[in-house]
Symmetry: C2
Subunit: 415 residues, 2 copies
């Protein structure tokens, strides 16, 4: 048995008890985690300092260093987030639709944990805590495999969380960290079908693509966002320009940010005249098709084929003129990632057609795609935004970390 298989076995054993823990036991464990992380924050910061030093020596990009960095404020936020998860309703043990069949069998469907969840992530130490507590609240054990850049921070966080849950009498193996951060450990995790019920990759597009193409364990694919704003001929153009600017510029690095605006030919010149001054405030680079370039002139650059499929994650926007709503929807079907898509229109029928026909996790009329988020949707905490259709689609809250089982009460029935 490899060290990872051994962890898998322990996780599966811990799952047998955690899956039937009461809401009070799980909430006690969460409170214990929050208190322990806060009390031992200096220990966690010291470990983080080792990661930051290594990052400095490796000349890591500033934006990545920022993601890796812990400070007292951030730890405070992480700890508060743990308490918010504790305050959410417990998703386990609800029985939906119990019915008596003609033969007298009473059949109910009960929500149960998925079992053992693997999370593969990169260098954000907050994901360690965040992932662990969402799994714990939903009765799942978790095996965390973070990137090597955050290994000291992650080890300390995992050790503290394990102590914290052991203190309230839960099996510490409900939370485990993979010590080996090599490519081989990620690969082994992706094929541990005997131990893992599901694998959730959290990180950049490259990581997610690799995991979903490689893993034999069932994967929930999250977070790729090539999102469009379509400005219809019947759009209120000022509203459209505000929505576009918000969707592109309020936080360009996240997956619900817009990457491309499609604008109807009848309003293209007027719309761009309104939108460009707003985009100018953020120095947005514009990658344009021939028609929009003819309108914009030297403010834009000619787009290449790659632009239409790019998740820029930056202050760059692809711009394309379309001749009708159908062309916009076809373009979205060909180039969108199925994350979030928006139309700006005042026309009832056009709005309904777009809502009906566009195939994405979230489809908007007259609002910014930036709202695709567990908190904004009222789901509480979020483990990611699923862009696949199986099991979960869109922002995933605690409900999406559950499965169900049929429970059947008989009086001797045979078939």
């Amino acid at each position: 048995m490899t060290p990872l298989q051994q962890q898998g076995r322990l996780s599966k054993l811990a799952s047998r008890t955690l899956s039937t823990a009461t809401p009070a036991q799980k909430n006690d464990a969460l409170e214990s985690i929050a208190a322990t992380l806060w009390q031992a924050r200096q220990q966690w910061l010291d470990a983080n300092a080792l990661d930051l030093q290594a990052a400095h020596e490796a000349e890591m990009r500033a934006s990545l260093v920022d993601r890796l960095t812990l400070n007292e404020d951030r730890i405070h936020n992480i700890v508060e987030a743990v308490r918010q998860v504790a305050a959410l309703p417990d998703p386990i043990g609800r029985v939906h639709s119990m019915e008596t069949r003609p033969n007298g069998l009473v059949i109910g469907r009960k929500s149960v944990p998925l079992g053992v969840i693997g999370i593969i992530f990169e260098a954000r130490p907050n994901v360690t805590v965040d992932g662990a507590v969402l799994c714990l609240k939903s009765g799942n054990t978790v095996i965390l495999r973070g990137g090597k850049e955050a290994i000291h921070s992650n080890r300390t966080a995992a050790t503290l969380m394990r102590q914290a849950i052991a203190q309230v009498g839960l099996d510490e193996n409900a939370i485990q960290l993979v010590q080996d951060t090599s490519r081989e450990s990620a690969n082994e995790l992706m094929h541990m079908n005997d131990y893992l019920d599901v694998l959730i990759p959290r990180g950049g597009a490259g990581l997610i693509r690799t995991v979903s193409q490689t893993a034999s364990v069932p994967v929930i694919r999250t977070g790729e966002g090539v999102c469009h704003i379509y400005i219809d001929k019947d759009a209120e153009l000022t509203m459209g320009a505000q929505i576009l600017t918000n969707a592109k510029c309020s936080r360009p690095s996240v997956c619900n940010a817009a990457e491309c605006v499609l604008v109807h030919q009848d309003v293209a010149a007027d719309f761009l005249a309104k939108a460009i001054p707003m985009l100018d405030e953020y120095n947005v680079t514009l990658r344009c098709d021939a028609e929009s370039l003819a309108i914009i002139g030297s403010r834009g650059e000619a787009a290449t084929d790659e632009d239409w499929d790019s998740e820029y994650g930056d202050y760059t926007l692809a711009v394309k003129v379309v001749s009708c709503t159908q062309e916009a929807m076809d373009f979205i079907a060909d180039h969108g990632s199925g994350h979030s898509e928006a139309i700006v229109t005042s026309n009832y029928f056009t709005a309904q057609t777009f809502l009906e026909q566009v195939d994405a996790a979230a489809v908007y009329v007259n609002a910014s795609t930036r709202f695709t988020d567990g908190g904004e949707f009222g789901l509480g905490a979020e483990i990611g935004i699923s862009t696949q259709k199986l099991h979960a689609r869109g922002p995933m809250g605690l409900e999406e970390l559950t499965s169900s089982k049929f429970i059947i009460y008989g009086q001797g029935q045979i078939r």
Copy 2:
């Protein structure tokens, strides 16, 4: 582009229109399929005769030849099943829990088709029709890849169904059959992530294991059943013997049949004295642990380690004595396939503990595991019984062939 990728592209295109077809359009298509298959039944029987002749030449086992065989009665049943699917409620387009958020956004969750479904199956021509119509009713396009043993029957069925749906104005590419029945075509299908939203293997344990271990396309794993009946010390023994005999003998080849009985040591001798005469009527072979063998004597055979994990699919039963309910539940956790598990007991607390702690798609008290079935559970038609926890668990009806999307009505909201 390979022929299979070409089929994938056509299926994806057809999905854009089928996903928004009205219930009436889909039901017209189903009625057209039923009528066409019945009218052209002789053509279908002729094609089946070619498959049967090849089976004869290849000296195929009688039970497999039986599965492959069509006759007028069976076609009648298949056609009736199509009409029953048409009569079910349409699972698409329901909006669950539409709510207004504090900022005025109105957010609803709407059921939508999964998209393009691949079904890999073996030599049962009824699966061709059955799979196609369940997908169609739920707005999904389907790519069917059946075994080479049924290729003539499948080609004819697919051709007839495509004609039938084209006649009522739906895109015939909503139903496609893979012409190439080589191992390579199955393998290619398992990696067509750009075209397939989900893959469902239907067939024996070997096929299912290969597909779930190999595919990068999301898989729904169905149909492995290593099911147990646990006879508690507080069981009504006659009821227990009847349930066991039914679970083992009423149809041993199906996945919800029992493979193993666990019996509490306090009642083992009395229970076996009641059960064995009933099992004798079916000449059931008994594979026993040392304790049960000591009770039964020469009526039993000594079990090997393999027996505890075997899905016999035949009139063979593993028998084991346990010292307590916990031992029975641990044994089930170690050797069960997570399909269906039953306890026979009159003790309230023991029953509740078993229901709570046993981790399987269906957990029974005082009833036969043979009830795990879409029809018996009141779900209507069934595409299979999922033994995984992601997306669907237990009998899968039309609801399990759907996904959801968030639809958001705004008035210019930005974040």
